[in-house]
Structure formats: structure tokens, C-alpha cells
Symmetry: C2
Subunit: 283 residues, 2 copies
């Protein structure tokens, strides 16, 4: 496993492999790897000749009062885990390497001013800019993202399509703890009591799934189920509950196409997100 | 010569050539080709295995009251000229092919709110977005731009560097008519009288060059020479006269590094630009 901290070095190595006809997969992460990330690596290993894992806590996607400084990091453990999974390249640049004297940003309109973009107004410009940079550095044939960050995936897919990029975005299922909590590096912020309260997110979404499968298509009814479940938890504060068109993220009233229920909830001071896709033949 | 109007088609053809090890040069234009464009094609032919010429009058770089609708076009003549120069691919997409349902823009800060960016506030976002798209479609090893659009070149170089793109930007000298007028597709707007008045731009810059070579380093003195020359022409209205640091486009008072004098002047209703680089050992 090659560890590279330099854009120039990594590019040189990867271009050679690309010209030799290798298919390259990229798993972009902010580190502090968990089973969700591991599953992305597995998918990439299966579908590509070379798998690149990037680890970069991207400052531009954090807002002013967010948890950039406290974001959990453990490089040593991350590298061990990557190595055990057979990752070929780990790219770990520092902030200077990625952003020194930079003046260029990439912006996707509309999709980024709703949901998480409403609560975190500069977040998605940070995401799209860093992802574009990573794609230009690695030139992956495929890049792997988790469905947990549903809006992120939809925004990135839009960017890739709008800018005529070659990388194919692969969206992988949410990986959950045994008790149903969606895996997230931020789960370490939770006290053991909050950890239990956090289960309310998945519980609420499971209720929605059941009702939807039983024939309920009314958005207000489904969302009120979620609201009721979350509001029953004292430590939980709802940021948003939305039921939107899967393609354009616009709120819908009656589900007549692929839709997604998205949920952002503060448990104590920790902001958690989760979601469930609603479509015909949901298993 | 292959003429392609489809992103997908062009990509497919070029990726094959790229994987075979061919070096690809791109000459991005808005068509209505003149000797300036021809010289860019010549440079690309010399330095690459494959030369791609793109012709696209990009609507997003025109302001609301600008000349998009009247911008001169002559596809047939352009294709003949490209063919006679040995261009390998001409890419002529329509607006729908490039922009249908698009929501993504690329923005370079600071460098784009001075000079032409001040008079044309949305211009450079249009330029950077279309150039990024063209680079992603063609994946050129080198792309050729004229020094006449000096600010454009500096903005594009910044974008390419900031976003870690592989394309090398090659800046080619201004090509002039025999009487000194910088070649531009917009020169066709000029009446024969205005055509003579337009020579004042090059005349003013030549005066600056002479004075600079004779030892004059004071920006105010040099700019006042230009102002006096342009103001002597009745049909001419100055948009800006600037003497700036070549790297960051900041105004300078005394020339102690590579600098550039930039000039934008309306002759009648036609906006013309020209510039001259001032550096040691200027020939």
C-alpha cells in the first residue's frame, strides 16, 4: 500500500497505471474509518484494478460554528484498516497541499440551498470543490459514496453530469450498527444515553417504511410519524424532516415516483442524519 | 477532419486516441476564425498528435446587454479554414448540448472582479465554466489561448492550477493586422472610419513600450500616455486603462516585476481590448 501526501506524486503514479489500462476506483473520506467506509472499499476492490482511498478532513465544508477542530481523527488506525482491506493507494494531503492560495470554487445551484444546505449554507460548495479536485487528481473511473449522505450524492452526481466528467458515481447502501444506528464518524460524540436516543432516527424511518409498504403515499402523514417519534425523545431537536423527489430534491405531497425521506436531528449537540428511499417494490 | 456535435461521440473517439498514447491539443474558440485562431492551431499542430478545435458561442459569458445575438458566425467558412489547417476534430455543440438543465458553475475570486470583470460582472464565471467543461470533454494535454485576452488566460491558468487539472495552458502572442490592430472577431463591427480610430489602441501601447524601454517605470506616467492618445480620438470611450502585476492583476505604481498594460476601449459601440506585457529585456 502506497501512502502519498503529495498531489504531484500521486498523479504521476496514477497516470502511469491509467495509461496501462487499469481501472481506478476512488473512495473519498474524511478518515476515522468505520464499517460504512469499509463497505465502500469492498465495492471499489470488486469493480476496479486499483483502489485509492483519500483521507482529508476538508475545512471548506465546515461552517464557522461547526466541529472542524474536534472532528475525530486517527491516522494510524485508518492506515491499518486500509491496509487490511487491500487498498492500493492512500492519499492523505494536508490543508496547505490542497488549498494554498486557492481562489476557485464550484457551485451547484438549487439542490444545495435546501435540506442540509439550508442549515449549512457553505457546506456543499466545500464538498463539490474538494470532490472535483480529488477527481482531477485521481481521475477515477468510479467513485464510491454512501447513501447516508443522500443530498451530497445527488449534488455530486449533478456536478459530474453538468461538468461532463468521466467518473461514474456509485452509491452504496447505508451501513448500520446492529441496533440500527447509521454508521458515522460523528457517532463517537454521543454519550451512552444519547447513543440510545439516537436510535430514534432509524426507528422513525422504519415506521415510515412499514406505512409506505402498507400503501400510505401521503407525505404529511408519513412525516408526522417521524416527527412524533423524534419529538418523544427529550435530547433530540429536529433540524429538518423532508420527503422529496429523489431527482431534484423538491418536496412532494403524494408519492408517485422515487422519493426519499431525509432526516437531520441534533441529539445533544451532535447533528445526525439518516434517510430512506421510498420506491415501488421496496424490499 | 471529423466534425462532432455530440459530447458523447467526441469523448468516445478521443478517449480511444488518448489511451493509445496520443497527445491532444485543444484550441477553444467562439468561431468566426481569424489569423489569431489560425496561429493557435499552428502551435497545437506542432506540439500534439491530435488537434481539436472547438467552436461554441458561449451564451453564459455574455452579459444581458451584450452582443450574443449579433456575434458574428460563419460555420461553413470556419470548417473550411480548420480543414485547410489540418485540424483533426472540430467540436461544434449547440447550446442545448452544453447547457440543458445545468446548475453547476465554476468561480475564480478576486482575479475576476477587476478590469473586464468589473465591466462584465458575470463574464468570467461563464468563461471558467465552459472551459472546464471543454477540458473535461476533450481532456487535452495542452490548450491554446491568445495573449489578447490576457485576463482570461490568467483566470483560466488560476482555475487549472486550483482544481489540479492536468491540462497545460499555452499562451500565444497577439496576432495583428498589418497596420497593428489586434485581430478579433468583433473587428467586423467597425465602420471603415472606426477601423482607423481603432488603431489608437495599438498606437498607445506602442508609445508605452517605447517609454518603458527608455527607462520609464512610473505607472501613472505610462498610463497617462495611453489616456492622452485614446482621448484624442472622438469615437473612442475608455472603459479602463490599467497597469497591473502580471500574476495577480493588482495595480502597481512602479514597475519592478513582470507587468501588463491592459486597455479596453469602446470605438463607437464596439468594445475592443488590447494589451502589452512589460518586462526586462523586452524586445
Amino acid at each position: 500500500m502506497i501512502i502519498s501526501r503529495s498531489i504531484k506524486d500521486l498523479k504521476m503514479r496514477l497516470r502511469k497505471l491509467e495509461l496501462e489500462g487499469n481501472k481506478i476506483g476512488l473512495v473519498p473520506t474524511m478518515g476515522y474509518l468505520h464499517e460504512g467506509h469499509m463497505s465502500l472499499i469492498d465495492y471499489s476492490k470488486k469493480e476496479n484494478d486499483i483502489t485509492v482511498l483519500s483521507i482529508f478532513v476538508n475545512p471548506t465544508q465546515f461552517g464557522e460554528n461547526e466541529d472542524l477542530d474536534n472532528y475525530p481523527r486517527d491516522e494510524e488506525r485508518d492506515l491499518e484498516q486500509a491496509n487490511s482491506k487491500g487498498v492500493d493507494f492512500v492519499f492523505i494531503p494536508n490543508v496547505e497541499e490542497m488549498y494554498k492560495n486557492k481562489k476557485t470554487t464550484v457551485h451547484v445551484s438549487d439542490l444545495t440551498n435546501v435540506l442540509c444546505g439550508k442549515s449549512r449554507p457553505t457546506h456543499f460548495d466545500g464538498v463539490t470543490t474538494i470532490v472535483l479536485k480529488l477527481f482531477n487528481i485521481v481521475r477515477p473511473h468510479k467513485a464510491y459514496f454512501g447513501q447516508k449522505d443522500a443530498q451530497q450524492v445527488i449534488v455530486i452526481e449533478k456536478m459530474v453530469n453538468d461538468l461532463d466528467m468521466d467518473t461514474k458515481i456509485i452509491v452504496c447502501p447505508i451501513v448500520r450498527e446492529e441496533d440500527g444506528l447509521a454508521m458515522s464518524s460523528r457517532n463517537v460524540y454521543l454519550s451512552s444515553l444519547q447513543r440510545k436516543d439516537a436510535l430514534s432516527l432509524n426507528r422513525a424511518l422504519s415506521l415510515v417504511k412499514e406505512k409506505f409498504k402498507a400503501g400510505e403515499k401521503n407525505s404529511i402523514t408519513l412525516k408526522s410519524l417521524v416527527r412524533k417519534e423524534i419529538e418523544s425523545i427529550e435530547s433530540a431537536t429536529i433540524d429538518y424532516i423532508s420527503l422529496v423527489d429523489f431527482e431534484n430534491l423538491e418536496e412532494i405531497k403524494i408519492i408517485d415516483k422515487k422519493a426519499i425521506v431525509l432526516l437531520a436531528v441534533f441529539v445533544g449537540k451532535t447533528r445526525l442524519i439518516d434517510n430512506i428511499i421510498l420506491e415501488e417494490n421496496l424490499c
